[in-house]
Each structure stands twice: as C-alpha cells, then as structure tokens.
Amino acid sequence: MITFDYTLTDPMGLHARPAGQLVKEAKAFASKITVTCKGQSAEAVRMMAIMRLGTKAGDTVTVCVEGADEEAAASAIKTFFEENT
C-alpha cells in the first residue's frame, strides 16, 4: 500500500472538472485508490463521491493506493494532482 498527501491549490478544490479527470486516471489502474479529506473518504473512481468531499484550496488530501500496480498508479495520480489541482 502506498500513501501520500497532497495540498490542493485550486480555489474550487476537486470540483467537477478535475474530479472527472481524476476518475479517468484512476480507472486506468487495477489498484484501489482512496482519497480522504477532513475525515471523509471516497474512491477515486466515484466522481460524485469525490466532488462531495467538498475540498477547497488549502485542504490536504491523503491518497491511499493498494493493488498490483500500486507503484505506477500512485505515481500517475500524484502527477495528476500536481498538474491539475
């Protein structure tokens, strides 16, 4: 299992657009990817659940990746966050 934190900079947090893109990224991997923020968790492949985390700029999310391709998945998801949020 790989875990990492990321602090969001987009004023709108993980709103619809990046949430949709995150889902696409996450679906490419077999690993289970969970995003947790302020005590609430959502699977990265569930768009509405990600949006409902209600994240904003400055929030730190914890990303948990577990599965056969977790190395590749964690790296890709981390890059995704850096480039889109």
Binding site: T7, H15, M48, G54, G58
Partner: protein
C-alpha cells in the same frame, strides 16, 4: 409596459419575442415494467446511449467554438457513468422498481446530497445531476425534449437545465430569462460564453402569460421591459447598435501593439486575484500580469499555506503566462482582514496599522516561506516580485537582505532559481511618493497603487459614500505625487507602472502616458478599451 427586475448575469441587449418554456414534470404512470434483469439491461443500454449522445454533442459544440458548453456536456458524460449513481439505480431495480423511476429517484437522491453542501458551486452540481438523470429517463421513455424555434427568440423559463441551454441553437437565442437562479449557475456561464444577455431571479412576474409578447432585455441593468412603447424601443435600438459597434471596434484591437500613435510603447498588463483569472487575461488579450494579489492563498482558512502549496500556485500562473511578465505582490493584509493564524494586534486604525510589508517584516517565518515559494517558482516563467505599503528605506534594505538569504539557502539546497528576479515596490503612500527619488535607487521598478494613494493623500475613505464630494480620484494632489514618482523613477533608470483603478480609467490614459508612465495594469475587461485610448495618443 411592464418592467420586470432581476439580476443581470450576462451583459448585452436584446429585443424580441418572449417564449416561455414549461418543462413537463409529470410522474411516470402506466409504464410497462418487466423483470429486474430486463429493467437493468434497459438502463445499461439507455446509459450508454446517453454517454454517446453527450460525447457527440460535446464534439459538435467544440466545432462550433463553444468550448464552455462542450466541457459542460463532457462533465455530464462523466456523471452519467458515475458508480454511485449506477449503484443507486441497480439497487432500486433489484427491488422491483421500473428503470425510469429508479433513474429519477437515484438521481434525485444524489442531487439532494449536493444541494445540502455548503459550497455554492457544489450546490449547482445538483442541477447537473438532475439533468443527466432526466436525459437517461427520457431515453428510457422514448421522449425527446428538444427546444427549438423557427425564429430567434428570447427564452424565458422557471429555470433552465444545462442540457436545455446548450441544446438551443445559438443563432435562435437572443437572450435568456429565468424565474429563479443565481449568478454562478449554468445560465450565467453559458449566456456569457454565447455573448447574449441573461437576467435571472426575476421571480413570479415571469410566466407563461407573457408568451409571444415583445420584450426588451437589458443585461446590464437586469431589467426586462414587456411590450415597450415606441420611444423606449427606439432608445434601446440605439443602445444595441452602439454596443454592438463598440464591441466590434474593441475586438478589432486584438493583436495590435500597445503603443501610442507616435510609436511610444506602453506595457498593458492585468490585475488578477488567483490562478483561475489567467483565462480572463488571455481572453482579453492582456500581455502580462502587472499585479497578482497573493492574498487568496492566505484568506478563508485555518492554517497558513505551506511552501509547497504556494510554490505550486505561483508556478501555475507563471507557466500559464508562458514567459510573459508576472508581477507577484507579497501578502498585503492588515487587521481589517480575518486571519486566524496571524497574531494581529487589534487596531483602532487598521488602514494606518501593521499591514502589507510591515506585517511581513514582523512575521519573518511567514515572509520567508512566501519568498522561498516565489523564488522556487521563479524558474517557471518571468517573475517579478513587488512589496506593498512601503514607507521607509530601511524596509526595502531589510527585505532585499532577506531575499538574498533565501536565494542562497535555496541554491545550497539544490533548488534552481531564476537568474534575475526584479524587485519592486508599490507606491501607495504620500511618504513613498515624496521619497521616490531615494527609494528608486533601491529597487528595479515602481507600481503606483492609486486606490490607497488617493485615500492616504486626501485623508478620505474611498468606501465612504458620504465622502464622495471630497474624494476626487483625479485630484491634482494625487496627480502631482504621480508626476513626482515618475520623474524620480526615470531619473534613477527604473520603470514605473500604475495598477490602481486610475489605470483603467480611460479618461486618464492620455494624462498618465503624458506623465511618462511605462505600464498600466488593469482588470482584464479593461484591456481593449485602454488599448484603444493608448493607440489614439499623439503627443
């Protein structure tokens, strides 16, 4: 003539026939239901159809140049494939519900969860969820809800779903009016991207009873005039023409150089508050950022933003501006702003208190973090750093020393830092303007914050309605200070800009340029009007 009032959320004028759209909200009755397996299969098929329709629609909109609408439909496509939605539907179908009802109920359940959130943007998503659910439901019921008109119309509705708005042929839509609605909803966003006026929140005055009446829509004022008299009609026809002409005239200035008729070049940049605003800079043909207010990173939160978060935010703007100059101003707040993680002493006069650079110098850890982040981001574009509210030479000396320390540290830690990051100060107090000859020798540029400069020079609260008569933004005292500042800056060989409201004041452009101002930084919407003024100057 009836006059309806609402909130203008997209500017412009329209004159035309009103058509009122009533969405049928009949419950599904007499729907033939088969086995759960069959209902599930029907749902899966309808869902796939919806996604395919939305993708095709997005492509069509993109080809028509409607990027905003295209992105919206793509987002709907993602929502249609959401697992929580699919689970909600599957659960109800397994329980024996027919597919259309399962879709409607599952959609409604999720929509209500969004509505219950604190965030206005997230609340708007409930409309998207309902829209997508309705689309799938219509496919299942074989219903097509297509809004189409043979002639251009002004469309009125209780509210318009995103799908309904984008499905309308752009050429047939003159304006949008809704009974409910807010400024951040789809109606506003799409109307602006279509370039047509929209007025929302009109209330019960807007009903189907107004069907086929002639109306005038004023997106600036947020008014709707039903069955206007001839005089009013003539007046608005004139306004429409004048507006259309000015829009086309201003658009003709895109791509043209920011220089006077005599060929003197001026830098025409933009003021922004957050990385999101870079889009507006590009849309309005702004060629740099003369003021990036960094406060957004610090306000409305419990903890200070750390170095990583700040570096990322600055990096985003620098790279989005692709090598064009970006002047980032360090934290400019005082006791009038709520910042829980700062120990701000309560002050009688926050405007005259510990604010701007003063606050940063008294909070060195915080200031250091911001400077580190700025210098780390400096390799991603053309960065200039600006310090607010300077009144003493020693403040600049201390700040420059801190910058040198930060740069040395970063290099020792292995971070690349840009070769040259020009450092400048805001001239926004009488002291700074009067001492500008001394200060000019310490920095690489000045930017005049005329809002605060006016306030401090005239001893006048610019927010005070009751002080209007005493607070002339064109006051000679302010202009004299600006003249002095420009003269001193040029004598020391540095450039000077203006980033306050005066920069966007087209009545002042010629005066400022005549003074010798090198740069004007304005809100994105003012770029083209100011460019027009600059290009007409012959001195």
């Amino acid at each position: 003539m009836i006059c309806l009032r609402g909130k203008g959320v997209s500017v412009g004028y329209a004159i035309g026939t009103l058509r009122f759209h009533n969405r049928e909200e009949k419950p599904n009755s007499g729907v033939e239901k088969s086995t759960p397996d069959e209902e599930q299969r029907r749902f899966d098929s309808a869902c796939t159809q919806a996604v395919s329709d939305l993708t095709a629609l997005a492509e069509k909109l993109r080809r028509q140049g409607e990027e905003t609408a295209a992105l919206l439909m793509e987002m709907h496509g993602e929502l249609a494939q959401d697992l929580d939605f699919a689970d909600g539907v599957a659960m109800r179908i397994a329980d024996g519900t027919d597919a259309p009802t399962a879709v409607r109920d599952a959609g409604e359940e999720l929509a209500m969860l969004f509505e219950a959130m604190d965030d206005a943007d997230m609340q708007q998503r409930s409309a998207d969820v309902r829209d997508v659910a309705r689309r799938i439901e219509n496919i299942l019921l074989g219903k097509t809800e297509v809004l189409s008109f043979s002639d251009p119309v002004i469309l009125g509705a209780d509210d318009l779903s995103p799908s309904e708005t984008v499905s309308l042929e752009r050429e047939k839509l003159l304006a949008i009016l809704t009974v409910g609605g807010s400024g951040t909803g789809h109606t506003a966003i799409l109307a602006r991207s279509f370039g047509i006026p929209a007025v929302v929140g009109i209330g019960n005055g807007l009903t189907g009873a107004l069907e086929n009446r002639l109306v005038i829509v004023d997106g600036f004022e947020g008014t709707v005039l039903v069955e206007p008299d001839e005089t009013t009609l003539a007046e608005y026809r004139q306004r429409m023409d004048a507006y259309a002409q000015s829009l086309s005239r201003l658009n003709g200035l895109r791509g043209l150089p920011d220089e006077t008729a005599d060929g003197r070049k001026v830098k025409l940049y933009c003021n922004i508050q957050s990385p999101e605003d870079v889009g507006a800079v590009r849309d309005n043909d702004g060629r740099g950022i003369g003021l990036f207010r960094s406060e957004f990173l610090f306000l409305g939160r419990e903890e200070a933003p750390d170095e990583e978060e700040q570096t990322e935010a600055y990096r985003r703007v620098l790279s989005a501006m692709k090598g064009q100059e970006v002047v980032i101003r360090t934290l400019d707040v005082g006791a009038d702003k709520q910042i829980p993680y700062f120990s701000l002493p309560g002050e009688e006069n926050p405007a005259l208190g510990l604010r701007g650079l003063r606050l940063c110098l008294k909070n060195p850890a915080l200031f250091r973090t911001q400077l580190r982040a700025l210098y780390r981001a400096s390799v991603y574009g053309k960065l200039l750093i600006m310090f607010p509210m300077v009144t003493n030479s020693w403040e600049i000396t201390a700040t420059k020393e801190l910058c040198q320390t930060v740069v040395s540290e970063l290099k020792a830690e292995g971070y690349p830092v840009a070769e040259k990051v020009p450092l400048g100060i805001m001239i926004e107090t009488p002291a700074a303007a009067l001492m500008s000859d001394v200060l000019a020798r310490q920095v690489d540029f000045f930017s005049c914050g005329t809002n605060d400069l006016t306030q401090y020079t005239l001893a006048c609260d610019r927010m005070g309605e009751h002080l209007r008569d005493f607070c002339d933004p064109h006051h000679p005292a302010v202009l004299r200070l600006l003249e002095l500042t420009v003269k001193n800056a040029h004598e020391a060989g540095i450039w000077v800009g203006v980033c306050g409201e005066l920069a966007a004041d087209t009545a002042m452009t010629e005066t400022l340029i005549a003074m010798g101002v090198d740069e004007l930084s304005v809100n994105p919407g003012s770029v083209l009007p100011v460019r027009e003024q600059i290009r007409q100057i012959k001195q």
